[in-house]
Amino acid sequence: MADLAPLGRERAWVLVFLAPTLVGLALGTVGSIFATVAISFTNWDLLTDPTWAGVSNYQGLPGDRLFMKSLWNTLAFSGLYVPLTVVLSLLVAMGLNREIPGISLFRTAYFLPTVSSPTAVGLLWTWIYAEDHGALNEMITALGGDPVSWLGPKVALYSIVIVNVWGAIGGGMIIFLAGLQAIPKDYYEVARIDGATAWQRLRFVTLPALAPSIFFQGVLTTINAFQAFDYIYILTRIGNGNSTMPTLVFSIYRSGFRFFRMGDASAQAVVLTAIIFAMTLVYFRLQRRWA
């Protein structure tokens, strides 16, 4: 790569240009991670001075029913949300990757939920899912069925997965469309001349060419899944900072910013980060095996 070596006083400019990023990296990210780990070993309510707590915040987690429920919900949510989002957005992208007049209207339609505020759209979904006079239950009762408590503790997981997938398909679709359009048309011509079936073209041309996009989409969607918050906050929160389907981020929000238990919230944040790092490592291992 050809590039410029800074001369004399230009070195000062290099520092000036990098300064915001360096401060952000040092304080905002690296420093904050260390600080969070340090705080997780204390009890601190921000009103009185922090006191040393050792590992008690971590030891308390397995016995904390809300935390364990959040952990389970987060894993279950991710287990459903990630494959559904990746597969559906890939299918939509393949379906829309053709030259038909008016196809861009379709892309716009699928993209609309992605750009809209989850808070605002979440309010609409609270109505769709509402137990009394909600849209879904109105339809069910009109057909002679019994109303369902869509956001109650039993079904909320699935209802929340559906909303989140609905909101994420458009983003994934755009990335897969870009990947699909980068595949040279000749590959398909050659495959057709060789007599490859549609399934074989998919299996031996499309999917291998898309492997890098699928991999990155998988990593990004997983990271997003573990951090899902907006729809869950709007759709499942009940009184006193509780939720019918708390996730880890919801639990961190509740401990840290509703009840100001900073040590406890930090310990949970460290656990969440460790899980995300472990998942990312697994992805990179898998990628090495396939590629």
């Binding site: 410029l4 379709f106 609309l112 939920p113 992605t114 808070t119 769709i128 109105e138 990335i175």
Partner: protein, 271 residues
């Protein structure tokens, strides 16, 4: 045979597209119904009215919420564009020790969830006396960021380095090369990133919720909507009008600048 499978695929895709758009149509239709019709499932109101919209502004200072969200998003876009393109420029154009190591470290922070950094940041802002002000919602955007820096660097790498070399022979400084050559040539990337940053800030709920949970004169539209939900839950015609004024500006902007929107999202795929 291919035609039949094409038709079937299109039918399924149409169904999916309807599922994507229908909620928005319904949001609009409900917001135009009088309260008495709120449980009427008809898509077209029997006696349409716009009364819900002025009613909103009587109940809550929605004009302030809209203004706050807009102002904070605009400041954040400015901060992100400036600091990320400055860093991206240095990473793309200038050779300096530890450049690659620093860049990899920066990229690695993409994996770091915001929840593990938010607690110390909250404590620092509180200690600075900025809790309950808007500063925590825009100051961080002036500290660069891995995503924007990566994006701008990738774009700057496509600009021939000979332009910078020639300008330098003519005596231009690095900052001059950046402001008069690289930035003007990068409008598409800047536009796409600006949209991405704007959406991120406009749609943000978590930070606004922790720094400005209840002050209706200072907080954002997202927190306003959440508070509105707890107070007026069940009054769906009002709620849908409130949602619509949050979604509408983005949808209008989307139709005006669709190409840049899609590019902004596509670039987040790190190709």
């Amino acid at each position: 045979m291919r035609r039949w499978s094409d038709l079937a695929a299109l039918a399924v895709l149409t169904l999916g597209a309807v599922a994507m758009v229908l909620p928005f149509v319904w949001m609009l239709s409900t917001s135009l119904k009088p309260a008495a019709e709120q449980f009427d499932m008809a898509l077209i109101p029997h006696s349409p009215t716009v009364a819900n919209y002025p009613a909103l502004f009587d109940i809550m200072p929605f004009h302030l919420l809209l203004w706050n969200s807009f102002k904070l998003s605009a400041i954040s876009v400015f901060g992100q564009l400036l600091t990320c393109s400055m860093a991206g420029f240095i990473f793309a154009v200038v050779r300096f020790p530890l450049r690659n190591a620093l860049f990899v470290l920066l990229l690695a922070t993409l994996m770091v969830p915001g929840q593990v950094t938010v607690i110390p940041q909250f404590i620092i802002f509180k200690w600075l006396g900025l809790y309950g002000t808007q500063a925590p919602l825009y100051l961080p955007s002036f500290l660069g960021g891995a995503f924007g820096t990566f994006l701008m660097r990738q774009y700057f790498l496509t600009i021939p380095i000979e332009l910078a070399e020639a300008a330098r022979i003519d005596g231009a400084s690095l900052s001059r090369i950046f402001f008069t050559i690289y930035l003007p040539l990068s409008k598409p990337a800047l536009a796409a990133f600006a949209i991405f940053a704007f959406l991120f800030s406009w749609n943000d709920l978590f930070s606004a919720l922790i720094y400005l949970p209840s002050d209706l004169t200072q907080t954002t539209l997202t927190v306003g909507l959440a508070l509105f939900q707890t107070q007026y839950g069940g009054q769906w015609t009002l709620m849908m009008a409130a949602s619509l004024i949050s979604v509408a500006p983005i949808i209008v902007a989307f139709f005006v600048a669709q190409r840049h929107f899609i590019q902004g999202i596509a670039m987040s795929g790190f190709r």
